[in-house]
Structure formats: structure tokens, C-alpha cells
């Protein structure tokens, strides 16, 4: 143990003095967390840019009703409203202002207010006629003949008046790009707003309503999902890529031979390396969680179970790195092998996005990767606070740790270097 601590201490000092090592182990994951956390909604709700061209003007000013519609859309918080001038040709505008984000343009036509008012009166009159007809048919026996005749005369007058009213819908136009995956969301929100607007116009009171209640004590954001994935993924890369290249470099430049010629045991060397990686992993976890707390207000809580799982995951990936470093004598070949294993695992295991988003076949592939169980277990423990759901990850990582430590001891050469 004393010898292992000597190696651990030497490796830790050696590593901390490497600017590139520190950058790729800490700064790079932190930068990715900041970028992905911001892009995928860590810091606030998702918004969509909506261009609005209001053609319903009176003396150059938007009508009251069209302005009200735009204000309601704006108040949903879903849209960032960008007003397009009425005299702009939309096709020309889109051509002259190319954008990597999809265009969603809402056009409010001329006479929108007039048409909406006319149609609302037309609809209201229809509702009155239907109601009176229903009353006469079902409750006429409770009235005198004169009363029934008066109602029917009034209905005839209302019908004649209504037929002279405009019944054309005030149709607004939504233009979206082909292949815009967010278009259904935008369309759905606008439809909801229009439905509410329609009901308001014709004076309909709500019959069915939705009430909301919180299912759990805590609410999660996208970054809560990503954080354990990032921690697990970068512990994995530090282990498989970092350890592989370190081991092969130490062997190439004779450091391992120098140590092998002393009374240092091979097992002490391996334990020292594992301990060093565990320290890095704990530091990475704390740094990432601190960043997540400060910037995105993540829910992650590190506890003893999380530390235990991180210890096990680090042992698995560091041992894999030592196995690769032992197999490949050439530094370049060892690094290439590390990359070839680490990068597919990083992207296919669901560390960066939910596995459920992937096709069935790929989900099967993801579940064959140790990283999947590592980040899934971490998420269950740190985010959902549900360690019992992490029993399978614990079991799988435990078995893998035993297997790869055994292989690392067998494959690491302490003679014939």
C-alpha cells in the first residue's frame, strides 16, 4: 500500500503539472457542459423565433385585434416575436436573409379585424338562432301561441339579417420551412392561442378545463439529464484514452522499466494508477456539479452511493486503459485503439442524449456498453435520488471492474519490457 501511495502521489503531481492534461480532463468537459447546457435548455425555457407580418393596418397602424393577437402569442413565452414590415415581400426577405435556423412566419392578412368581428357576430347570431329553435321545439308547450309566434318572427328577422352578414373566416397564414422539426410545436402553440382567441371572440365560457399539480417534489431540466452523462463520459475518456496513452508513453520512454528494476511490485503500480484516476474522477465530478449548480441550478446531489459508483466506473475504464496500454506497444497504436473504443461508446451509449431517442437496434447496442450502466446509475443516484434503481449498474460495473482489473494485472508487463 505504501508503494502504491508513492506511485499515486508521483502520478498526481506529474499530471497536475501538465497543462494539456488538466485542460482536457477538466476545462474541456466544463466547456462542453456550458455549451450543451445552454444550447439544450439548461439555463431557460426553449423559445422559437416567430416572424410576424401584420397587414391589418388602419392609417398605417395595426388594428386593435391584430395587435391583441400578437401580444397573446408573445405572452405565451414560447415565441420570440420578430416583426416584419407590411411592405416586405416574404420570399425576397427570406432569400436576402439566409439563416441556419428555420423560418416560421405568421402573416396576419388585411381586414383581419373586420373579418374576425363580422364572423364572430355571424357565429353569435347562429348560436342565438340555434338556442331559440331548441327552446321553441322543446319548451314551446310552456308558452302561449302569441309568445311562440313572436319568437319565430324575431328568428325570421335575425335569419334575414344574418344572411346579409359576412361569414368569411379571418384566416392567418403560417409559413414554415420544409423539414423544420420544430414546426409541429410552433403550429400546436399557435392553434391553442387561436382557439382561445376564437372562444373569447364569441363569448364562450370554458366547459372543460385543465388543472395542474406537481408530480414530484423536484423539477428536472435537460441539463439534469446531461450532467451525469458528461461526468460518466469524461471519466470514461480519461480512463480509456488518458491511461492508455500514459501507460504506453511511460513504457516507451523507459519510466516503467526504471520502476520495474526497483523492488516496486506490479500490483502497486496498477493500484497507484487506479487511485490516481479515482482522484481525478472525484475532482471532475465535483467540478462539473459545482458548475451545474452555479450556472444551471441542476438538481445533482453527490452522495456515498454516487462516490461508490464513480469509484467502480473509474476502476473499470482505467483498467481497460491499462489493458490497452499493455497490449499495444506503440504509443500511436495505443492512442488509436483508445480512441476507437472511447468515442463510439461516448456517442452510442446515450451519455449525451436519451437512449429512447435512438432506433431500437441502437438502443440494444447502447445497453451492451459499460458506459450506459455508468451514466444511467449515476443519473438514478444523483438526479432521481433513487439508488435502488442503480442496483443493476452497480452489479454490472462490479463484475466488469473485477474482470478488467484481473486482465490489467495479467497483461501489464513487468518483465521483458
Amino acid at each position: 500500500m505504501k508503494h502504491s501511495f508513492c506511485i499515486f502521489s508521483a502520478l498526481a503531481k506529474h499530471w497536475f503539472r501538465s497543462k494539456t492534461g488538466v485542460f482536457f480532463s477538466f476545462m474541456f468537459p466544463a466547456m462542453l457542459l456550458l455549451i450543451f447546457g445552454t444550447v439544450f435548455g439548461g439555463a431557460g425555457a426553449q423559445t422559437y423565433t416567430l416572424h410576424v407580418q401584420n397587414l391589418d393596418l388602419v392609417d398605417g397602424e395595426p388594428t386593435e385585434l391584430s395587435s391583441a393577437l400578437i401580444n397573446i402569442l408573445d405572452s405565451t413565452g414560447t415565441f420570440k416575436i420578430e416583426n416584419l414590415p407590411a411592405d416586405v415581400d416574404i420570399a425576397d426577405y427570406v432569400r436576402e436573409h439566409p439563416s441556419f435556423t428555420d423560418y416560421r412566419i405568421l402573416v396576419i392578412p388585411e381586414n383581419f379585424q373586420q373579418k374576425a368581428m363580422d364572423k364572430s357576430i355571424y357565429v353569435r347570431a347562429g348560436v342565438i338562432l340555434d338556442t331559440l329553435s331548441f327552446v321553441v321545439e322543446n319548451y314551446g308547450y310552456t308558452m302561449t301561441e302569441n309568445q311562440v309566434g313572436s319568437i319565430e318572427n324575431g328568428m325570421d328577422v335575425l335569419k334575414m339579417w344574418r344572411e346579409n352578414m359576412g361569414s368569411e373566416n379571418a384566416e392567418i397564414l403560417l409559413l414554415t420551412d420544409e423539414g423544420d422539426t420544430a414546426a409541429p410545436i410552433v403550429r400546436g402553440v399557435i392553434s391553442s392561442v387561436i382557439n382561445a382567441f376564437n372562444n373569447e371572440m364569441i363569448g364562450v365560457e370554458a366547459v372543460v378545463s385543465v388543472s395542474e399539480n406537481q408530480l414530484t417534489q423536484r423539477s428536472f431540466k435537460a441539463v439534469d439529464y446531461y450532467l451525469p452523462g458528461y461526468i460518466a463520459a469524461f471519466i470514461m475518456t480519461n480512463g480509456i484514452i488518458g491511461v492508455t496513452s500514459n501507460i504506453s508513453e511511460f513504457r516507451r520512454n523507459g519510466v516503467i522499466k526504471r520502476l520495474a528494476a526497483t523492488p516496486l511490485q506490479k500490483s502497486s503500480w496498477i493500484i497507484g494508477n487506479l487511485a490516481h484516476q479515482v482522484l481525478l474522477a472525484f475532482m471532475l465530478m465535483l467540478a462539473m456539479i459545482a458548475l451545474g449548480w452555479l450556472i444551471f441550478g441542476v438538481q445533482a446531489i453527490p452522495g456515498p452511493y454516487a462516490l461508490l459508483l464513480i469509484f467502480m466506473g473509474t476502476v473499470v475504464f482505467c483498467s481497460i486503459g491499462m489493458v490497452l496500454g499493455g497490449i499495444f506497444k506503440d504509443v500511436e497504436a495505443a492512442s488509436a485503439a483508445g480512441n476507437a473504443i472511447a468515442f463510439p461508446m461516448m456517442f452510442l451509449s446515450g451519455a449525451f442524449w436519451p437512449v429512447e431517442m435512438m432506433p431500437d437496434f441502437m438502443q440494444g447496442v447502447a445497453r451492451c456498453m459499460p458506459l450506459y450502466y455508468f451514466h444511467d446509475g449515476l443519473r438514478q443516484i444523483m438526479i432521481y435520488q433513487n439508488p435502488t434503481q442503480a442496483l443493476v449498474p452497480f452489479a454490472i460495473l462490479g463484475v466488469l471492474a473485477a474482470v478488467f482489473v484481473y486482465l490489467a494485472i495479467k497483461i501489464t508487463k513487468w518483465k521483458e519490457l
Partner: protein, 308 residues
């Protein structure tokens, strides 16, 4: 009787059909500097690494302090210090940290300062290894090898790649280690180094050991004749011919006489000094280079390659 520190008998190391070391035998005695000299690929490092317990021999016997290199690895490693060929260590650790690391592995708690001072490293103890010159790095290697207070030190090509000044400084260090009573096993391809440092030496080429002995034994046995070279005096030819038949006129009219024994050399020199004082007389002694040429039939160039 002087104690044998290393005992090698019929030692062989094969890689497939290739014999890197082929039935070699030699002994190393306590307190001496022993050199294993040969060109690149001769089997020097393989031999050293077998003795350091870093390689397993295919056959034969190799004992260090009477312990078998295959079965007593742990005991042997506690008693030896090693400076591998092209020595390297954790390059972002300081000199002190690197030496201290090895001392801790050996369980040695004292003597760090003394060790660093002896090798002239105390003033630069806080410098990172990567910032040191080639010669200083080798001294750090020796300091690390001495950190465990070994009785036997293996130096595998310690001066290869160093400039002449750094090489000579390292020789001084090696001599001082001998004075401390450390037995030193040195491998080298520099004949000059063998002459400057070694008590005894073995010549190894292509895995085979050609000869072993003290440097003076090897020189007198295989070095060949002593030469007297006289410049600027034609009459010297007549004088020298009185003591040896082997006289010839060399480049630039130099008179060269070769003598199989020292007594005739002395007589010839006395006679030559009686000639006018205008001539210049040089006595050329045979060297290990001549020994190597005679024994192996080739020379070793600066990079360590054998030239036939």
C-alpha cells in the same frame, strides 16, 4: 579471496531462433568497475537486464550476490541500483521528487541530501527533470539508482549521447562511486571509457563473449606491438634497426618502429635521445581499440555500430 558479486555461467537468451546472448560466462568482483563492451546489438543490454531481473534467461546460470536472478528477484532488486539505457523518469517531477520516490520504494528514509550533494544536484533539486541537460539527467539517474543505497550499480551505456565534457564529468562521478565501495557493472561501446574507468572488461559481439580480463592484461595480450614514431630525423631508422627488424618510413617521412616488448623500447629510446635534439619522438602504446580490432576483427564507430 575477493567476493564474487555476479556470477554468470553459460548464460543464454534466445528470441525465437535468434540468440541475443549465447552461452556467456564471466564473474564480477566486489568493489570493481566491470565493463561489458561491444557494439550495438551485441547483447550488452540483454545481459544487464537479465542480471537486473528484468528478463528471464533461456538457459544458463546468472547469480547476483549468490542469488538466482529467476527465483530471488525480490531480494536481488533490494540490493541493486539501476540506470537503464536512455534513462528517463517522470519528467514533470523535480530532481528531489524523483530521487525521493525511489528512496521511498526502497524504504530508505535518510541520505537524500547527501546523495544529491554528492552528485552535484542539491542546488537544482527543485528543477523539473524535463528542464535538465542530458548530462544532468544521467546524474539524476545515478542519484535515483543510489537512492536505495545499493551494493551493486548497473550503468547501461551511461554516457551515450553526451558531449565530451559531460562524459568526463560522469566518469569522475563513477570513479567517486567506486571509492565509496560500490561495485559497478558498466556497459559501453566507448573503448576510451573502458580504459578510463574499468578494472576488468569483457568484449561481447553478437551475443558471444570473446575475452575477459583486466584492461592491462587485455592490452598486453591482444593490443599488439608498442610503436616508436620519430619525426624529422632520418638517422633514427639506423638507430631503431639495432633493436627491431620492423622499421618502416610512414607518412610525411616519419620513421616508425614496432616493438614486441618494453625492454627493447627503453633501449631504443635511450639511443634515440643521444641523436640531435631536433627530432620529435612519440611512443604509441596499444589501446583497447587495438584489442578490439585484434580480437573481433573490426572497430566500433561513435554511434556504436560495428565496422568490419
Amino acid at each position: 579471496m575477493v567476493e564474487k558479486v555476479i556470477e554468470v555461467k553459460e548464460l543464454t537468451k534466445k528470441y525465437g531462433n535468434l540468440s541475443a546472448v549465447d552461452h556467456i560466462s564471466f564473474d564480477v568482483y566486489r568493489g570493481e568497475i566491470f565493463s561489458l563492451v561491444g557494439p550495438n546489438g551485441a547483447g550488452k543490454t540483454t545481459t544487464v537486464e537479465i542480471l537486473e531481473c528484468l528478463r528471464k534467461p533461456t538457459s544458463g546460470v546468472a547469480r547476483v550476490f549468490g542469488l538466482d536472478v529467476v527465483h530471488d528477484e525480490e531480494k536481488i532488486k533490494k540490493k541493486i541500483g539501476v540506470v537503464p539505457q536512455e534513462f528517463n523518469t517522470f519528467n514533470r517531477l523535480t530532481v528531489k521528487e524523483n530521487v525521493d520516490l525511489v528512496a521511498k520504494i526502497y524504504g530508505v528514509k535518510s541520505g537524500l541530501k547527501q546523495n544529491l550533494k554528492r552528485l552535484g544536484l542539491w542546488e537544482i533539486k527543485d528543477k523539473k527533470f524535463e528542464a535538465l541537460s542530458g548530462g544532468t539527467k544521467r546524474r539524476v539517474g545515478i542519484a535515483m539508482a543510489l537512492a536505495g543505497k545499493p551494493e551493486l550499480l548497473f550503468l547501461d551505456e551511461p554516457t551515450t549521447g553526451l558531449d565530451p565534457q559531460a562524459r568526463r564529468e560522469l566518469w569522475e562521478t563513477i570513479r567517486s562511486l567506486k571509492k565509496m565501495g560500490v561495485t559497478i557493472f558498466l556497459t559501453t561501446h566507448y573503448m576510451e571509457e573502458v580504459e578510463a574507468l574499468s578494472d576488468r572488461a569483457s568484449i561481447i559481439v553478437k551475443g558471444k563473449l570473446f575475452t575477459t580480463g583486466t584492461v592491462s592484461e587485455l592490452v598486453s595480450k591482444y593490443g599488439g606491438d608498442i610503436k616508436i614514431v620519430v619525426k624529422g630525423e632520418r638517422r633514427a631508422e639506423t638507430v631503431i634497426k639495432r633493436f627491431t627488424k620492423n622499421v618502416f618510413v610512414g607518412e610525411q617521412g616519419n620513421i616508425i618502429g614496432t616493438f614486441p616488448n618494453r625492454r627493447d623500447v627503453a633501449k631504443a629510446l635511450l639511443s634515440l635521445y643521444k641523436l640531435s635534439g631536433k627530432c620529435r619522438i612519440n611512443v604509441v602504446e596499444p589501446t583497447m581499440e587495438d584489442v578490439f580490432l585484434r580480437v573481433v576483427g573490426g572497430r566500433i564507430d561513435e554511434s556504436g555500430e560495428l565496422i568490419s
